[in-house]
Structure formats: structure tokens, C-alpha cells
């Protein structure tokens, strides 16, 4: 069985007018089917308001489907008895690193999750050390989060989730508020977790360059999944992505334009190296 599977997932929220009366319903997610297996690195792309963050919140019982079901490791997310097991299995990292820091020093913040799970003190210390080492933040364990850079804060947030020993981590636009250096740090940390620790990663983003590393990409727009496939497959459909208010990575775009101009370049070029090789051969 897949780690996460969503079947015909629909989420509606109530629209209200100025007086607070019900005005109608808006569908943030419309009949979404999603299958994510263990160890995958999945990227969910989509423009603002496409419902990708709402989808993410369904994966660890922060929101419940209006219709349809979401299963995490075989548990229905609406099952009240399993809610803590589900949240333990699916960790969440949010966009704003400042708004998810609970502790006054890094170490305490990482310990917050395991403390809530009622784990023995000695074990918590081990977990904190282990997860801070994984994101290369162990040297900063006694620092106050307010003194860290954005990228470092976000890595601490990832460590905080890791300390709960999740099966899967959902990252909701973790790099949207970071500078290029911080962005690179976070993406490197995420890829490391996926490659080395084999943790399932669901990365929600609208940065195309980050999605290149994924095993599978889902593209969302207006609550639907409009495209899916490997990065190569998805990024070779440049025009279709444009229609969904998304861009392709610069290199892919360049390759696309060159191919249009008559050069012999296959579609779906993702990295600079690939493009160089192609150009040298032709």
C-alpha cells in the first residue's frame, strides 16, 4: 500500500459576504487523486491560489476533506483516534520560519515534537542531536533562533520535524521567504534526507528549479491536478505549463527556444550540463 493516497478529494470552504452570511461555497480542491509511495521525492507545483497548500494540510489532519478520503499509511485522516499517529508520521514544515519556532533556543525547539509525544528525556536528547546533525545545525544548538539566518531557521524547523521520526515530510513552500543561499541550503538538506535517509519528501513550491530534483511532479491549478509525471515529462510541455501560469527552469526554456529555432535538441532538458552536452554533440 502506498504511504499516502488521496481518492476523489474535494475541499470546499464557505464564502461569506460582509454581514457574515453564507454567500456560497468555493472549491479549493476538486476531485484530486494522489498516490505517493515510500521513499519518493514528490514536488507539487502550482501558481498562487491553486490549492496546493490546502492539499498539504489534508495530509496530516490539519484539514479534513469535504468529500473523498485521504489515507496515510492506511489510516483515514478523519479517524480521530489515529490523528496523533498521522501527525507523527507526516511532518510539516511551513513557509515562514519565524512563525514555527516554539523554543527560545534551537535545541529546545527541536525537542518540542518529541516532548509532545511523551518520549523519555534521554531518548529526546539523542533524537535532537541526531536530527540537528542531519541538517548540519548541531553547532548552533544553543543559539537563539532569532540570531539565525532564514535558511538556518528553516533547517532547524526541518530538524524539529525529523526529531519526531516521521515517515514523510511535507514542506509547504519552505524557500519562498529565503535568499538564494538559504534556498540552496534548504534544498540540499531536503535532498540529503531523501537520498541518505530515504525519507519521503513532498515539496510544495512554485520555484521550478527546485522541482527538477523530484522523482515525480504534480502540477495543480484551480484545485485540479492538471499535469503529472517525471520532471523530464512535465518540463518538456513548456506551452502547457505557461497556460497554467507557471514557468519552466531557465535552462529548459533556453533549450525549448533553441529547439524551436531549428537546433536539434530533445525536449525536457533540465540542467545546464545536459544542455551543454547536447549543444556540443550537435
Amino acid at each position: 500500500m502506498n504511504l499516502i493516497s488521496a481518492r476523489k478529494l474535494i475541499f470546499e470552504y464557505v464564502r461569506r459576504d460582509k454581514n457574515g452570511d453564507v454567500d456560497g461555497f468555493s472549491r479549493a480542491i476538486d476531485e484530486v487523486d494522489l498516490e505517493i509511495s515510500r521513499g519518493d521525492f514528490v514536488a507539487i507545483l502550482g501558481p498562487n491560489g491553486s490549492g496546493k497548500s490546502t492539499l498539504a494540510k489534508h495530509l496530516n489532519s490539519l484539514l479534513f476533506p469535504t468529500e473523498g478520503t485521504v489515507f496515510v499509511d492506511g489510516w483515514d485522516t478523519t479517524d480521530a483516534e489515529k490523528i496523533w499517529d498521522i501527525r507523527k508520521s507526516v511532518g510539516m514544515v511551513f513557509q515562514n520560519p519565524e512563525n514555527q519556532m516554539i523554543g527560545t533556543i534551537v535545541e529546545e525547539d527541536v525537542a518540542f515534537g518529541p516532548e509532545n509525544m511523551g518520549i523519555e528525556p534521554e531518548n529526546i536528547k539523542e533524537r535532537v542531536k541526531e536530527s540537528l546533525t542531519m541538517v548540519e545545525m548541531y553547532d548552533h544548538r544553543k543559539t537563539s533562533p532569532s540570531k539565525l539566518s532564514g535558511g538556518q531557521k528553516q533547517r532547524v524547523a526541518i530538524a524539529g520535524v525529523l526529531a519526531m521520526h516521521p515517515k514523510c515530510i511535507v514542506l509547504d513552500e519552505p524557500t519562498a521567504m529565503l535568499d538564494p543561499v538559504g534556498r540552496e541550503e534548504v534544498i540540499r538538506a531536503i535532498r540529503g534526507l531523501n537520498d541518505v535517509e530515504n525519507i519521503t519528501i513532498i515539496l510544495i513550491t512554485h520555484n521550478m528549479e527546485e522541482a527538477v530534483f523530484a522523482d515525480k511532479i504534480y502540477v495543480m491549478n484551480e484545485g485540479h491536478i492538471v499535469m503529472s509525471g517525471t520532471p523530464k515529462e512535465v518540463f518538456s510541455r513548456v506551452d502547457e505549463l505557461r497556460e497554467n501560469r507557471l514557468n519552466v527552469p531557465e535552462v529548459t526554456l533556453l533549450a525549448h527556444e533553441l529547439a524551436k529555432a531549428g537546433l536539434n535538441i530533445p525536449p525536457g532538458i533540465l540542467t545546464r550540463k545536459e544542455l551543454c552536452n547536447c549543444l556540443c554533440r550537435s
Binding site: 511551513f94 512563525n99 514555527q100 519556532m101 516554539i102 529546545e108 516532548e115 518520549i119
Partner: protein, 266 residues
């Protein structure tokens, strides 16, 4: 300018005071503050001074940090002193127009200043040597008995520690809002008091809106990290009394005994 405000300012160092259990420090500070009002004599001040000075000495915190907290209450200090000086009846020292300064008044004013200074410095030692989270931990554990009275001790402690975490974040935010408003021509520095207070509204409104948004984000983050209140929660570093804490309690008892003796004898 706004960054200079320090609240719950912790000074990282490695001293006996830093390592003490926060409960000892909380209880000690409380007793110390009470003790300052248990004597009237000069000798009492000598005992209190010696105690305070030795605490400062073993805390490894630079003295200037100790007195930083006094700046905030400087006006209050002067005000109390002046009032005491003029309004205490007794033997006349100087008198002009309708105002008389008495010897008792002068004495009382001096003592009042000393008392308030000691009070603030004493509590500064506690906040300087204890991390905010340690402090809330200590509060939570020593107030646990209030659970019987249906006081939500854990929730209050959690709120306190979140408030402390968010002070720097919100200060930065305020700074940013002020600059944004100034960039659009808002004037916070001229005009009379009412004018200035009204100028604060465009700062406070966005600040509150953003605080609510942050609170919402934080609640989500806490929930997704399995937070479900104090029940069944463990601690990475549970508070446990060590030998040094017992010794600290003994020292404290000795000090209180001294103060009471002095208070009765002199």
C-alpha cells in the same frame, strides 16, 4: 532604536547561579524582595548589600548589565524620593515657601531609593542568569499545585514562553512598520502628546493584524508537531534538585535568619 529594549534579558555565562534550579531562583527572589521590607535600620542594609554584592560577584555577569534595568525606573525612583523627602513629617532641616525638608524625610527617601534599587537589581540577577524557558519551566513546576484550583498552569507557562519567543520577532516587525510608515511621510516625532499618540494607531493596527496571523501559523505548526496540551508531555531536561540547590536553599535560609535578627535587634 527599538532593539535596545531588553526584556527578560538573559546573559549567557557559566556560573553557579546560572546552573541553579530555576525554582530556587524564583523562590529566592521572592524571599529577597520580601526581606527588603523587613528592616528599618542601617545595619539591615549592610546585610542586604553584602548578600546582593556576593550574588553579583558569583554571577559572572558584568555589573553594568545589573544596573541597566534601573534606567527604566529612574523617573519612578526620583519621584518616590522627592515625595518622601517633602511629605514626611518630622524635624525640620530646611524650609522655604510652603516646602519643608525633614531629616526623617531625607532618611526615608534615601532608604526608599536603596530599597527599590536593590529590588530591581535582585530580580535582574534572576532574569540575567536564567533563560526565559527555564524560568517558565520553573514556574510551571512550582505552581503545579494550583491545578487543584483549576488554574491552567501548563497553558499559562506555555503562553509565557511563546510571548518571550515572539518579543524579538514583534520588535523587528514594529521597526519595519514604523519605517514603512515613515517612508510614506508619517510623522512620529513632532506635535503634542495627543498628536503623537494618534500617530501610533497606524503602527498598532498592522502590528496586531500580523500578530494574529503569526498566532494562527504558530498554532498550525504546534498542532502538526503533535502538541495537545500538558498531559502526557515529557521534557528534554526535566527539573531535578541537585546538591547545589539544597545548599542554595540553606544559604537563603541563613540570609533570611540574619535579616530577621537584625530587624528585631536594631
Amino acid at each position: 532604536m527599538i532593539r535596545e529594549i531588553t526584556l527578560g534579558q538573559y546573559y549567557p555565562a557559566d556560573s553557579v547561579l546560572h546552573r541553579l534550579d530555576p525554582r530556587v531562583k524564583l523562590f529566592g527572589t521572592l524571599l529577597y524582595v520580601i526581606s527588603l521590607f523587613l528592616f528599618q535600620s542601617f545595619t539591615g542594609y549592610i546585610v542586604a548589600t553584602v548578600f546582593l554584592a556576593s550574588l553579583i560577584a558569583i554571577s559572572h555577569v558584568p555589573v553594568k548589565f545589573m544596573f541597566r534595568g534601573l534606567k527604566a525606573i529612574f523617573i519612578l525612583l526620583i519621584f518616590t524620593a522627592v515625595l518622601n523627602m517633602f511629605l514626611t513629617p518630622g524635624r525640620e532641616l530646611v524650609s522655604f515657601w510652603k516646602i519643608t525638608i525633614t531629616i526623617e524625610g531625607l532618611r526615608f527617601a534615601a532608604f526608599m531609593i536603596l530599597r527599590l534599587t536593590y529590588l530591581i537589581t535582585g530580580s535582574s540577577i534572576m532574569t540575567l542568569t536564567t533563560t526565559p524557558s527555564n524560568l517558565t519551566d520553573g514556574l510551571e513546576k512550582s505552581m503545579r499545585w494550583m491545578n487543584i484550583l483549576k488554574v491552567p498552569v501548563h497553558e499559562i507557562a506555555m503562553m509565557m514562553s511563546i510571548a518571550l519567543t515572539f518579543i524579538p520577532v514583534l520588535l523587528e516587525e514594529t521597526d519595519r512598520i514604523i519605517k514603512a510608515q515613515q517612508a510614506r511621510g508619517a510623522d512620529f516625532e513632532s506635535g503634542n502628546l495627543i498628536h503623537r499618540i494618534r500617530a501610533l494607531v497606524p503602527i498598532l493596527v498592522p502590528l496586531f493584524v500580523s500578530a494574529f496571523r503569526r498566532a494562527n501559523d504558530l498554532a498550525l505548526a504546534m498542532e502538526s508537531r503533535c502538541y495537545r496540551g500538558g498531559e502526557g508531555r515529557t521534557k528534554m531536561r526535566p527539573l531535578r534538585y541537585e546538591r547545589r540547590d539544597i545548599i542554595a536553599y540553606l544559604v537563603l535560609a541563613l540570609y533570611i535568619a540574619c535579616i530577621i535578627t537584625v530587624g528585631i535587634l536594631f
